[in-house]
């Protein structure tokens, strides 16, 4: 590789860094002041792209930039005042889920407004050509992008250090309680910060359209990139976001330039892993002081009464009788419910009692599913062996990813689990030779003895029931109690010899393995597996199931999984925009029923 082509890759990286920085800076600013991680930030970038493409037909590319950015900012104001304002005092899991609901709703809006096809943007007038740099042709527009990043950084810096508004933002970022005690108008401040963050996101999207088409998948791709950048750079630090955006974009550019475009994700993962090991708070971040006051007090996870145990046994017996009455669609739906019940129970294990809010649990479901498919199709293993060995793939994945994840807590952990899941998804999506790429794998059917719907239903019932029983047993074992101890009071846990991180790592791996079993069961019931099985929406489905049933109850995930699976089945069959419906369900759930249906029942009961 010659010196000139190295320079060219470097410039490519710089051009990519600018839009990444704009997106991450907005996310970071909003988090710093409101303490909300805005999952829908990537969706705002996506909207910026679509709006700019639509507008540039009428008013030209250059005018479309500020117009699209301002429209997204206006939407940001609407979202903040109508929705986020109600969430500032809510537990962080609910905040994350509510903003994820916006992802679903905004994506379906874009689908409805602009259709499923990619939209090509115009080229930038006056910058259509290329510039000669050391005998290579380099797009003039990319040179313009290179300048945008530092310009925005400088503008933000001036805004934050030279204006009264900036002083307020910095005060609120450093100490929200003190800032409000000093009489700062929080409402106005929060709304304006959110508007600025949205403006930057919209601008990032609009700036991108001469380089890439507007697509519906941009939302999650951008937000997971932005998560990686703020984790590496330090959440709340604008210069950190800039440095990390440069680092990540350069790494990407060089991987692509050297012809290893498929390695990009692996290298990105390595960069993030190294940053986390050596700088757990990010390159320019500072360790966060513990929040004042006690953490949320979780209710007691009551041991199941004999009546509950008898009821569950009766339920299992009743399920075993179903094939006598029906062999049709009901059986297929029940099989799905049982599989997702196991998935939800495994997620509940780490999310509720262990307090690790994973937004990437589907990665392990998918690893189990792909593990089974690959073993069967590529290695010619029989179904029994594929089913038994597939969870090992999930185990290995959870072991590696979990090692990093349990080093963080709260929002950081949520972002990291999501980023890892996105990486796993991308690998499945890109590795055609093994995973079949975007088409996935087909023709993964059970062995002859389990081939009928009835036989497979019994197999799923037996495996799911056994795994759920084991998981619940573990919740009331010393291990399960120790996890709740570490969640309730890390200080006290440490002071009585509990090695919280080791236990949490074990729990993460345990839950990942059981999700992998669910994934392996799922692939044989459908006969195929696609990257969707480990995509972020699947992870969030799991959280919704857990939340629907009540996060601090024992059997809640069971009812949540059954209800959600039924709902998804009923809605998805009849309606193109079912994701938006799910989004609305999530919003209702987080705003009106934070305790889940279980909590609703308990409130009604006389005790």
């Amino acid at each position: 590789m010659s010196a000139s082509s190295i320079l060219l890759q470097f410039l490519n990286g710089l051009a990519g860094a600018s839009t990444l920085f704009l997106a991450a800076a907005g996310l970071s600013l909003i988090f710093g002041v409101t303490r909300i991680v805005n999952f829908a930030h990537g969706s705002l970038v996506m909207l910026g792209m679509y709006l700019a493409v639509a507008l540039s037909d009428r008013i030209g590319f250059w005018w479309s930039l500020p117009c699209a950015a301002l429209m997204v900012a206006a939407l940001g104001i609407l979202l903040e005042t109508a929705l986020l304002r109600r969430l500032y005092a809510a537990p962080e899991l609910l905040q994350l889920l509510a903003t994820f609901a916006l992802v679903l709703i905004i994506r379906d809006y874009a689908l409805w407004q602009w259709g499923p096809e990619d939209l090509l943007g115009p080229r930038a007038p006056a910058l259509e050509g290329a510039v000669e740099i050391l005998d290579h042709r380099f797009p003039a527009y990319d040179l313009f992008l290179i300048a945008v990043g530092p310009l925005v950084l400088a503008a933000l810096w001036l805004l934050l250090t030279r204006t009264r508004w900036g002083v307020l933002v910095r005060a609120a970022t450093q100490d929200r309680e003190m800032a409000s005690a000093l009489g700062i108008n929080q409402r106005l401040l929060f709304t304006s910060v959110f508007a600025l963050g949205a403006l930057l996101a919209g601008l990032a999207g609009a700036l991108q359209i001469p380089r890439e088409p507007a697509t519906l998948q941009v939302d999650l791709a951008v937000v997971s990139d932005a998560f990686v950048i703020v984790v590496v750079g330090g959440l709340g630090s604008i210069p950190g976001a800039f440095a990390a955006a440069l680092l990540i974009a350069e790494v990407k550019a060089f991987c692509i330039g050297l012809g290893y475009s498929k390695l990009t994700l692996v290298v990105e993962f390595l960069v993030m892993a190294l940053a986390l090991v050596f700088r757990p708070w990010g390159l320019l971040g500072r360790a966060r002081a513990q929040a004042r006051g006690a953490a949320t007090i979780e209710p007691r996870l009551r041991p199941p009464s004999p009546r509950v145990i008898a009821g569950l046994a009766a339920l299992a017996a009743l399920l075993a009788l179903v094939p006598a009455a029906s062999s049709g669609y009901a059986l297929v739906l029940l099989t799905d419910m049982l599989i997702f019940a196991l998935f939800a129970v495994s997620l509940h294990f780490i999310t509720g009692p262990a307090g690790l809010h994973s937004f990437g649990h589907a990665a392990y479901f998918g690893l189990g599913a792909y593990g089974a498919g690959v073993l069967l199709l590529r290695a010619g293993a029989p179904m029994e062996m594929a089913l038994a060995a597939a969870p090992l793939a999930a185990f290995a994945g959870a072991l590696v990813f979990g090692w990093f994840c349990v080093r963080l807590s709260g929002i950081y952990l949520a972002m990291l689990t999501l980023a890892f899941a996105q990486i796993a998804w991308s690998v499945a999506f890109q590795w055609d030779a093994v995973t079949g790429g975007s088409n996935g794998l087909i023709g993964i059917w059970p062995a002859a003895w389990a081939g009928s719907k009835t036989a497979y239903f019994y197999l799923v019932l037996a495996v799911s029931a056994a795994c759920i029983a084991l998981t619940w047993r573990a919740l009331y074992s010393p291990f399960g109690y120790a996890l709740r101890a570490a969640r309730d009071s890390p200080l006290r846990a440490d002071a009585i010899g509990i090695h919280a991180r080791a236990l949490q790592w074990a729990a993460f791996t345990f839950a990942g393995t059981f999700a992998g079993i669910a994934g392996a069961l799922h692939v044989f019931s459908k006969g195929s597996v696609s990257p969707e099985s480990m995509a972020v929406p699947r992870s969030v489905d799991g959280l919704v199931m857990v939340l629907l049933g009540g996060i601090q109850t024992l059997t809640g995930p069971l009812w949540g999984a059954a209800l959600f699976t039924w709902l998804q089945d009923a809605v998805a069959r009849g309606f193109d925009y079912w994701r938006a419906v799910i989004g609305v369900v999530i919003l209702v759930l987080t705003l009106a029923l934070p305790q889940g249906l279980g909590g609703l029942l308990r409130r009604r009961s006389p005790s």
């Binding site: 074992s477 010393p478 291990f479 109690y481 709740r484 006290r492 009585i496 010899g497 509990i498």
Partner: protein
């Protein structure tokens, strides 16, 4: 032999020297009170001894064994129990389960995923709860306890590993006067009966002068005096440390 030996202990936060050259010992069965005005370095000293912070210089020995740089959970395994200024317990568990956790950790049973935790160490937990007079509340959730009861629960948990040394940071903060004296009396009785060395900080001077065998006085990170309660009471430097220049004018 003394249970705890501290010498030459120093710790700075940024430019602020929180502790410099602090040294003292605590013997088995002895109640040693550490007093001093706010900001004197008492909590820092506690956090250094139990491993939450690492000192810049100095030695910390437990029964002759160097414990410098060990994590709190390792220090606990060597026999150091701790209570916190703001009581730290497991809010989602019952009182008995809280104590069972400490006992199970001591017995190294916490990684066991299939046993039933509530059945293990139940009697031992009840014995500990009886010691601090909490057995009547064994089945209540820690989240609903009165603050004084939380402090007694903490004490029971700190006693679960048969500690050689108890570190009690403001053990009676937030308690009513009668309750305070009762808790200190209980602690002193347990310490004498089991030969536990107790290092405690306390704002309530009545409790300090009634129950401490010896007192050390910190001011601005320096150990200015140590002696019996009578010696400390008589020393003018203590008044000065607490009241500053005002003491001379008065």
């Amino acid at each position: 032999m003394s249970i705890l030996l501290v010498s030459g202990l120093a710790k700075a936060f940024g430019g602020v020297q929180a502790l410099r050259d602090v040294g003292f010992t605590v013997d088995a069965g002895e109640m040693l009170a550490m007093i001093g005005p706010n900001g004197a370095g008492k909590s820092t000293c506690f956090n250094l001894v139990n491993g939450q912070l690492v000192p810049d210089a100095g030695r910390i020995e437990l029964e002759g064994r160097n414990i410098l740089g060990l994590a709190p959970r390792a220090v606990w395994r060597l026999g150091v129990g701790r209570t916190f200024q703001v009581a730290a317990t497991f809010a989602s568990m019952t009182v008995r389960e809280n104590v069972q956790m400490a006992l199970l950790s001591h017995a190294r049973r916490l990684s066991s995923p299939f046993a039933s935790a509530t059945r293990l160490q139940r009697e031992a937990a009840d014995v500990l709860l009886a010691q601090v007079d909490m057995q009547a509340q064994a089945d209540r959730t820690a989240a609903v306890l009165a603050y004084g009861d939380l402090k007694r629960l903490e004490l029971a948990m700190a006693l679960a590993n048969r500690p050689r040394l108890l570190l009690m940071d403001e053990p009676t903060a937030g308690m009513a006067a009668a309750e305070r004296m009762a808790l200190m009396r209980l602690t002193a009785t347990l310490a004498k009966a089991s030969g536990i060395a107790v290092l405690f900080t306390e704002h309530d001077m009545d409790a300090v002068f009634t129950y401490a065998d010896r007192i050390i006085v910190l001011a601005e990170g320096i150990l200015i005096l140590q002696g019996t309660p009578a010696q400390v009471r008589a020393d003018p430097r203590v008044r000065e440390a607490y009241l500053g220049e005002a003491a001379e004018d008065a």
